[in-house]
Amino acid sequence: MVSDYAAVAVFLLLGIGFVLFNFFLARLLRPSDPTPIKLSTYECGETPVGSGWIQFNVRFYIFALMFVIFDVETVFLFPWAIAYQSLGLFAFIEMLIFIAILLYGLVYAWRKGLLRWY
């Protein structure tokens, strides 16, 4: 069982190895002739204005928070789903209550306008 996950480890190492090998191969073949203009940040041919690390829309952050809530919920649903057919009606009703609470949260976020982009 645990040895199954050795496959995952081997694949991770192999994937990194494959990419590094490609980088190495390209290093042997490609030219390298850096000039200051080549190394400047691309901004459609203009001289870049300020840093690239600008302020961004806070909405991204709110969606990330919402994601954490709902994804944890999904993780809770997985064991429930696997055992669903042996758990009977009680588990179903219990999960309905759980989902209802979370859907109430979604409706709350919706009504508060958190799902609007601007």
């Binding site: 081997v10 694949f11 994937g15 030219p31 400047s40 691309y42 901004e43 600008i54 982009w117």
Partner: protein, 345 residues
């Protein structure tokens, strides 16, 4: 030749015997076997991506009444190999302003996440690297790692287009991850297992395919999966017409190629997972199992390409609104309907 599964078994046993003859411990035998299996998968992935890029160019050309690549090889089949060789020789420009460490690791993480999924994809009878007992959960979680790579690429480039592309991709992938997982749970309620192999074995007959019992779930899976793979109409992270190339703007040469490889690999992964969960995996009459699997995947890939060359891109607010206000409620409805259905029948 067609009996690939038997061939794999013979070769596997031969390698096994060969390594044992060297007198190494069983742990080493396993690592070497896994490494060989991994190399086969990497080779498969590389060839498949070369083919898919060619296919996409041909299909898009046909849909737009063009010819597509015709010069290099018969019907332009070697075009992508030529392109790959060209990318190999391209100068690798790393702008001065980038965060070097993060910038270097972003394509690696993106590609490794795309590759690691293949540990537990059942290509055919006996053609699975390892049948993990949490297979479905593993696939869902490892595909999400892609977003870390994209975010790293976007942030480290120190470029406004890249940053916006990276953030958009993060917001999009995490938003669509929820309906994707919820739609998969609908299937899990029937299968009562997370093992990919067992899920395939349960769908031996045509009428046992889970698509018949989960039509709404499949629709949600398809839409959310398309968004996860960053394909049009959900390709906002790289939206060429507004963000130049999104998170890959500052990448060139082989580093760019790795993002490209991961993107097309993710598309094939989506088709492969859909085939396994909803369309009976490698089950089918007459032809060998792996041929059925590839054939079903190709139909899925064609549908994804069809989407890309038919639909216009969504606006970013429509995109997020669609995930949270339509897909997630629908996914919950599907889950409840499935629960009621199982109890009634």
């Amino acid at each position: 030749m067609l009996e690939l599964d038997k061939l794999v078994k013979i070769v596997g046993d031969a390698i096994d015997a060969g390594i044992r003859a060297l007198g190494l411990g069983s742990a080493w035998v396993m690592v070497i076997q896994l490494a060989i299996a991994g190399l086969v998968v990497v080779a498969f992935a590389a060839v498949m991506v070369l083919f898919l890029v060619w296919l996409e160019r041909k299909i898009s050309a046909r849909m737009q009444n063009r010819l597509g690549p015709t010069r290099v090889g018969p019907a332009g089949t070697i075009q992508t190999i030529a392109d790959a060789l060209k990318l190999l020789q391209k100068e690798d420009i790393t702008p001065k302003a980038v965060d070097r460490g993060v910038y270097f690791w972003a394509p690696i993480i993106t590609f490794v996440a795309a590759l690691a999924v293949y540990v537990t994809i059942p290509f055919g009878e006996g053609l699975i690297v390892r049948d993990l007992n949490i297979g479905v959960l593993y696939i869902l979680s490892i595909t999400t790692f892609t977003v870390i790579g994209l975010l790293m690429a976007g942030w480290s480039s120190n470029n406004k287009y890249s940053l916006l592309g990276g953030f958009r991709s993060a917001a999009q992938v995490v938003s669509y991850e929820v309906p994707l997982a919820l739609s998969v749970i609908g299937v899990i309620m029937f299968t009562q297992t997370l093992s990919m192999l067992e899920i395939v074995e349960q769908q031996e007959k045509f009428h046992q395919w889970y698509i018949w019992r989960q039509p709404l779930g499949f629709l949600i899976f398809l839409i959310a999966g398309t968004a996860e793979a960053n394909r049009t109409p959900f390709d906002l992270p790289e939206a060429d017409s507004e963000l130049v190339a999104g998170f890959v703007t500052e990448y060139s040469g082989m580093k760019f190629a790795m993002f490209f490889l991961a993107e097309f690999l993710n598309m094939f992964t989506l088709a492969a997972v859909a085939t396994t969960l909803y369309f009976g995996g490698w089950n089918g009459p007459i032809l060998p199992s792996w041929m059925w699997f590839i054939a079903k995947c190709m139909v899925g890939v064609f549908i994804l390409m069809w989407f890309r060359w038919t639909y216009p891109r969504l606006r970013v607010d429509q995109l997020m609104g669609f995930a949270w206000k339509t897909l997630i409620p629908l996914a919950f409805i599907n889950l409840i309907l499935t629960g009621v259905g199982i109890h009634l029948f």
